[in-house]
């Protein structure tokens, strides 16, 4: 197996060459994205150096470009922290939803539940954002207020939650709710493809229903990891829904009851005013550069797990 396909005739060669630009197109798209991000972030990168990725200062000064200072550390931290919070919510929910759909939902209703869950996975994230701002955030303010009063000694609940309910916890829970039907669809597909004889073998050895489910789940671990990695990738890239509920605070803290920020939501929130300052737009492109790097790594990991699962199925 080489880089190029074996082309046996002139017809094959013509066909290959005709389709080659599609490869260039994908490469060009990635390269253009990276090129634009580097080019536009250069002014601020040159000014701040790598400090832009380690500092949390966000100092916009109108009419005084020298006083402008921008740091992305809080946003990068926030992206990863809300992504992890989302996983914390989505992992148990999506695995349970997938298993319950296959195991416990009556056959006649299974299609309806699967359709509903898939519809919710396709629902635009901005609709989740509107719902999160209107209903989830006030509810989270009450729940987190209670947790702060009673478990405030834990670093996670050390701050009093804002009255609006826009904070790390709300963004994390909203992202988790959004990711659940998506991850559940991937896990459900894998779970329903487990060969029947494995289930029979488990019951034949005298396993209870729950023990059998645990055994079956252990056989699709790569697909569960892939589903959760994809959910994490989605959460990190989510922009508008997070922008509405995260609270726009430059905080690096374990406290989920504090307002936060993510790279994507920072770009969305600050871009409309960036034109007023000399370096802010450039700083936001530097944020884009960081998001690009995170996005490539997380998606590559997710894709590699997905491939591993597909190969395992191929061998089974």
């Amino acid at each position: 197996m080489g880089l190029l396909p074996r082309l046996r005739s002139r017809d094959d060669r013509a066909f290959f060459i005709l389709h080659l630009p599609t490869t260039y197109l994908v490469l060009l798209f990635l390269a253009a994205m990276l090129g634009v991000l580097v080019l536009y972030s250069y002014p601020e990168l040159a000014r701040e150096g790598l400090r832009i990725f380690t500092s949390t200062v966000w100092n916009a000064a109108e009419g005084n470009p020298e006083a402008e200072h921008y740091g992305l550390a809080a946003a990068i931290y926030g992206s990863i922290y809300t992504g992890l919070l989302a996983l914390l919510v989505a992992a148990p929910l999506s695995v349970s939803l997938a298993v319950a759909t296959v195991e416990f939902v009556p056959r006649r209703l299974r299609g309806a539940v699967a359709t509903l869950s898939d519809l919710m996975a396709a629902t635009p994230t901005i609709v989740y954002g509107l719902w999160g701002l209107t209903y989830l955030a006030p509810a989270m303010a009450r729940v987190m207020g209670w947790l702060h009063t009673h478990l405030g000694w834990l670093p996670f609940f050390s701050q009093p939650p804002p009255e609006t309910g826009t904070m790390f916890a709300t963004a994390g829970v909203l992202l988790g709710i959004m990711a659940t039907p998506y991850a559940a669809a991937v896990i459900r597909e894998a779970y329903s493809m487990i060969p029947w004889h494995l289930r029979e073998a488990a019951f034949g050895l005298g396993a209870t229903r729950f023990e059998a489910i645990r055994i079956l789940l252990s056989t699709i671990k790569p697909s569960i990891v892939a589903a959760l990695a994809l959910a994490f990738a989605r959460s990190i890239g989510e922009t508008v829904a997070v922008a509405l509920v995260i609270g726009n605070g430059m905080n690096i803290t374990l406290s989920v009851t504090s307002p936060g920020i993510t790279v994507a939501s920072l770009i969305a929130l600050q871009f409309p005013v960036a034109g007023l300052y000399r370096y802010m737009e450039s700083a936001l492109f530097a944020g884009g550069l960081a998001l690009f790097a995170i996005g490539v790594v997380v998606n590559a990991v997710a894709v590699s797990f997905m491939k591993r699962w597909e190969e395992e199925i191929g061998h089974a």
């Binding site: 880089l3 190029l4 396909p5 017809d11 094959d12 013509a14 005709l18 389709h19 630009p21 599609t22 197109l25 994908v26 990635l30 253009a32 634009v36 991000l37 080019l39 536009y40 349970s96 939803l97 298993v99 319950a100 759909t101 416990f104 359709t115 509903l116 898939d118 519809l119 996975a121 396709a122 629902t123 635009p124 994230t125 901005i126 609709v127 954002g129 509107l130 209107t134 209903y135 989830l136 998506y182 669809a185 005298g206 209870t208 729950f210 023990e211 489910i213 990738a233 989605r234 890239g237 922009t239 508008v240 509405l244 994507a264 969305a268 884009g288 996005g295 998606n299 590559a300 997905m306």
Partner: protein
């Protein structure tokens, strides 16, 4: 029946209960969201009547807040254009990935495409802003530089990887015998692939396109810095404008009731569009891979 220890029986019961409770907890917010979008959305549409789909917004009057006509037109325009762009590029890309699937170059293309599938879409928005919008601004196409065309380009780039992967998956499953039959009739490879193989895989390709369209209709982030966010007049191709998704985002920030009424109505319209496309895709094939 062999006797099962009480401890294992209890664990079984607890485990099953836990799964059912967590699954219900997963579905509950989804039901709540669907219910609130329906209730609030219907109320918005009732307040404005049929004008909700045609009139420009009038958020100062919550009792009769006008409509989302221009934004709806914008979404239709953006989705149509971006689908045309994306399909024209995604099908040859899918063909390339599927036809040369053993070659390293095509496997590498597939990997890059897969990585791009869930890539942060806000970056696509930034890229199109820096290229198309900036160029239009300096060329003086309009006073802002934002345009529906730029938005359509951004959306096309967002859904392109998805459609290409779906097309390659559909093409991969076409039986080899059919290509051999076409070749034995003396058809060229181009003709074989585009007339025979593509024809047989069309159902899978159409499903991929439909889901891509649903994605494009719901995307907001790629439009933030490309279309401008104007919701009061019907835009042309080179004018700044808006979309239903962008209208929801912008109006959600506002404090007055009229904006929220419009945002909920827009959310119902958007969910109906997406649900319609998804159901159409599901009618074509039973399992839809997201």
């Amino acid at each position: 029946m062999p006797r099962i220890e009480a401890r294992r029986r209890l664990a079984d019961l607890a485990g099953r209960a836990l799964i059912v409770v967590l699954a219900a907890a997963a579905l509950a917010p989804l039901f709540h969201l669907a219910a609130t979008v329906t209730v609030n959305g219907v109320e918005a549409i009732v307040r404005s009547g049929a004008g909700f789909f045609t009139e420009p917004p009038d958020p100062t009057d919550p009792a009769h807040p006008g409509g989302i006509g221009p934004a709806l037109w914008g979404t239709a325009m953006l989705v149509t254009l971006s689908t045309l762009f994306a399909v024209a590029l995604a099908i040859p890309a899918g063909v390339f990935i599927a036809e040369f699937r053993r070659a390293g170059i095509s496997r590498a293309t597939l990997l890059l495409t897969l990585v791009l599938m869930e890539f942060p879409t806000v970056l696509v928005g930034l890229t199109v802003y820096a290229t198309v919008v900036r160029a239009f601004r300096s060329l003086g196409v309009n006073q802002y530089g934002y345009s529906m065309l730029a938005g359509a380009v951004a959306l096309a780039l967002v859904v392109l990887p998805y459609m290409a992967v779906q097309a390659s998956e559909a093409l991969r499953h076409v039986p080899r015998e059919l290509r051999e039959a076409a070749f034995s009739l003396g058809a060229s490879r181009l003709k074989t692939v585009y007339r025979v193989v593509l024809g047989i895989a069309r159902r899978g390709i159409v499903v991929g396109v439909l889901i891509g369209v649903a994605k494009a209709a719901g995307e907001t982030a790629p439009l933030l810095f490309t279309v401008g966010g104007f919701f009061n007049t019907y835009p042309g191709l080179l004018d700044p404008g808006g979309s239903v998704s962008l209208l929801i985002y912008e109006y959600a920030w506002q404090a007055q009731e009229g904006y929220h009424v419009l945002a909920w109505g827009a959310a119902l319209v958007l969910m109906t569009i997406v649900a319609g496309l998804m159901l159409a895709a599901r009618l074509l094939v039973r399992e839809v891979r997201l």
